[in-house]
Symmetry: C2
Subunit: 560 residues, 2 copies
């Protein structure tokens, strides 16, 4: 008899499933469902580029499509496949992605009276409207509850739970007051599948609670009422309609209801794991253990590592989240990330690459990669900052923007693309250096996510800039794989160690840093860091008068 689990991974533009054989790691089915609403699934507001919302109906339509699709594929691949042998279901999502819900747990956006009101919809992680609220929360916490900030990098972000909810209260009190409670996307879907959507019955995950809602057991859960009331009394009042306790994903959120089991073709009563964020489950799917950094390279990037919760670990400034149990039970989950990586490349290819590179987006990428691969480090003479969507780690500031310098009258699109890739790698190096400064050992880097699988040129540039060998996880769906693994483990019949051992594989290809490239990139990184600190650190003063000249000197040396 076989044992299977299904993981569901809800991303920024689509959701996908993975059906895995828990004993062999074989992946038998995977289906993608692009969200039909808005622009690539995102509801935007032309008058404010910070707005990014989603429609909860897209999530529900996705469940059926991706699970039934994966089961069909499994039947085709393995004739004797029996859906009754699926022993658990796990779900990860983006976050912090809060949903305003009524007393039954129904999202306000699904109610006719709120149709068309973006504030009643899902506030997607990359919605940056709440930067004023984030700044006020940071200032208030610094004054009243510095311990809250210590665990989230010293700065509370506009991408997070309380900033967004408070923003809603300010700009659309009608929506705020109509919401009985708010639920993270990753907590709402397990609640739906297990029939536990009533807010007081939803099992909330410690991953989202700890990383985004300032939840910690050591201060009694969510931020206290006095603190919340000093932001706004309505937030203190909301606290009582949220939750007292949050759980790690080796716990079940409940059992699959008969109605859903029927619709999906699964066995009723199988466990659905407590939800968590995509990167955290992805890190587990990629085999995270202490000393390993898992980089999930997608539209944005998450960098995840773990440390046994017996270790002494203080505040790490600018590292967004350190939460007990958010990745592996018994370990601190340590999360960092870059607000845009693949998104910067997509922005560039959509808006600034002429058709001489190709007619389609993928032809343009291919031709640019072919041409930039022929360049040596520094040959472009360009240097960029990777801040088109702000900087999450280590500056934690959404009110930063992109920068590129070094352009001549000869600069071409593929050279700028190379500079943008390098900028994201310099951003990644800045994160690793910060972790190491504070005693978080990184022996090994495992990469996962689309870019690590598809873009060998990018991976080599990353190896040269990070200055260490890079491995790539074999699974193309590590987030969904991690979710599936937690689905299995939450039923209690199999341990996480065993599932990781069976299912986490590496690709044969490894990217080794090339010493002469490393040396040039060390020089360029010093310039990147100067711009990073000069534009990013309040009150810093800089002498930039040598930056352009040094880049020209490196370019001349590299071209010679």
């Amino acid at each position: 008899m076989s044992r299977y689990a299904i993981g569901l991974d809800y991303g920024t533009n689509s959701c996908r499933s993975l059906l895995v054989d828990l004993d062999t790691g074989e992946e038998l089915g995977s289906v993608v469902f692009p969200y039909p609403s808005g622009e690539l699934g995102i509801l935007t507001d032309p008058s404010d580029p910070h707005v990014a919302r989603q429609h909860p109906q897209d999530y529900l339509d996705g469940i059926v499509a991706i699970i039934t699709g994966a089961l069909s594929q499994a039947k085709a691949v393995r004739p004797g496949f029996d859906a009754g042998e699926v022993i658990g279901l796990g779900i990860d999502t983006t976050g912090s992605t809060p949903i305003p819900v009524d007393a039954d747990g129904t999202p306000l956006a699904l109610k006719p009276e709120f149709a068309g009101n973006l504030n009643a919809h899902v506030w997607l992680w990359k919605d940056h409207t709440a930067h004023e609220e984030a700044a006020a929360i940071t200032a208030t916490a610094a004054r009243m509850r510095p311990q809250y900030l210590a665990k989230c990098g010293g700065i509370y972000s506009s991408e997070w739970w309380w900033s967004k909810i408070w923003r809603c209260l300010k700009v659309d009190p009608a929506v705020f007051h109509a919401a009985h409670s708010w639920v993270e996307h990753c907590d709402w879907l397990p609640a739906v599948l297990t029939g536990n959507t009533r807010p007081d019955r939803i099992k909330r995950g410690v991953c989202s609670a700890g990383h985004k809602a300032m939840y910690a057991r050591e201060w009694g859960g969510l931020p206290d009422s006095e603190f919340l009331a000093s932001l706004d009394p309505a937030l203190a009042e909301l606290r009582g309609r949220l939750y007292e306790e949050a759980f790690s994903s080796d716990t079940a959120a409940g059992e699959l209801t008969a109605a859903w089991a029927e619709r999906l073709g699964l066995k009723a009563g199988i466990p659905v794991a407590v939800g968590a964020f995509d990167a955290h489950m992805g890190a587990v799917g990629a085999g995270v253990v202490p000393g390993t950094l898992v980089k999930i390279l997608g539209t944005s990037t998450c960098d995840i590592t773990v440390l046994p919760n017996s270790a002494q670990l203080g505040e790490v400034p600018g590292v967004c989240g350190i939460v007990d149990g958010s990745v592996l039970p018994g370990h601190y989950g340590i999360e960092a990330g870059q607000s845009a990586v693949g998104d910067i490349f997509l922005w560039f290819v959509h808006h600034l690459v002429p058709d001489s590179y190709g007619a389609t987006v993928s032809e343009k990428f291919e031709e640019m990669e072919r041409r930039l691969a022929a360049l040596k480090p520094g040959e472009t003479g360009l240097l960029a900052l990777d801040w088109n969507n702000g900087n999450r780690t280590i500056l934690v500031d959404v009110r930063l923007t992109g920068l590129i310098l070094g352009q001549t009258l000869h600069t071409e699109a593929h050279e700028i693309y190379r500079a943008l890739i390098e900028a994201t790698a310099f951003g990644a190096l800045t994160i690793i250096r910060r972790m190491e400064e504070y005693g978080i050992r990184i022996d090994r880097v495992v990469n996962t996510g689309g870019l690590s699988l598809k873009n060998a040129t990018l991976m080599q540039i990353y190896a040269d800039i990070l200055g260490r060998p890079l491995q790539v996880a074999a699974s193309e769906q590590t987030c969904a794989l991690g979710a599936a693994m937690f689905g299995a483990v939450s039923g209690g019949g199999i341990s996480l160690e065993e599932v990781q051992r069976n299912c986490c594989r590496m690709r044969e290809v490894q990217y080794q840093p090339i010493p002469e490239n490393e040396a040039v990139y060390r020089e360029i990184y010093a310039l990147y860091k100067a711009l990073h600190d000069g534009f990013g650190l309040s009150g810093s003063t800089s002498d930039f008068s040598g930056v352009m000249k040094e880049l020209i000197a490196i370019r001349q040396r590299q071209r010679a």
Copy 2:
């Protein structure tokens, strides 16, 4: 009986003629000849983006095409037209654009043994290979002959005469030693037409000599031998094969030879004026007088004004040239400029604008202009530096490069185009402010050149940023018009004042600054100036951490 003159204007990518009626200002013929060699007439070297050379044969082929063409047009337009009533010919060119020639004045590039050797060709103004030599000349002059620097803005440029000749000596001594002399493009063409190509018979213009070769009557002409020998003894030796005296363009370089008269269909013996640079003759064609700044808006930009040479005028730091008689006889010609303006827009449209804006370059420009005209100042959130080809005035530094910041994931090409236009206008404002600081009054700004005629959106942005009304010269060929005017005046039968009165007209359209736009641009200019000084002034330190946030704040205010 009518009086006509012909002006020839040799630009970066093409040359053109203008045949003008000196009594009415009517323009009867004008023909363009695109240089056939290289890329748009420029010979480049893929291994060094600083190389820009030209082929002298292109210049010769052009003469015939554009004069005979203009005469044909005049005959068509005015049936009684008689080419015998053309009383003079004048020529302007780009510069400093030196040509190595043999003892007969034949360019080395036209001799078989140097065919294909870029160093034996014409060193086009925008060739930037000689930046090391320029820096050494600046340092040596600062030590030995500070008076040489005082008149050229305090920094000798890699675009200029001695830098390029010295560079040639260093990188290709065979070419240097084969050259009996060197001649500016603007001096060589009148010499060709008047049969005076033997280097000792060429009448050199004071415009090129004074602005680019550190020539001044007060120190006995060209830099002295001791100074040149301290650069390289071979340069001191070359001095004896150059010239002792230089002339303003109201002087004739000689008389049109019978052979050329025959080929061109003109009367033999008419005067050909001493040559000068395009911008200087263009300023005269646009009606420059004291208090008027003429801006020639093309691939690069020249800003020209004049001051009676009886005025007290000290050094103006960073203003490249102040030369007695280089524009109007009896006046200091004051020249400033931006190394790339139209060239930046062309670079952008060729390399970074997707076909969604249109299939051709002009469709892309049109669509971008349509879309950017709908934006308010500051709405893009972007800020750029206009240094893709270095900065001529007021930093005089080719080792500077472009910069753009403020990009989000939503930034589109037309927004960047707007930021690039604004950057060039901020650069223009920086020049005017520097002149005014040093007592050069600017009451009136007259614009000429392609951009001033074709791009009303750009002109309005310029008016808003410069904060003063802008006029546009009526002639589409002010450089060729100025050349024609000098051709007439060099014969002695008509005064420059009379010709300016008859021929310099303004368009009816004037661009008035819009007060609310001016106010926003004053704020953004402060940020531009901070970046300008921070990246451009050696040893300056600044706090840049507010720049991105201030741009976001302005964007939000303007969009609201």
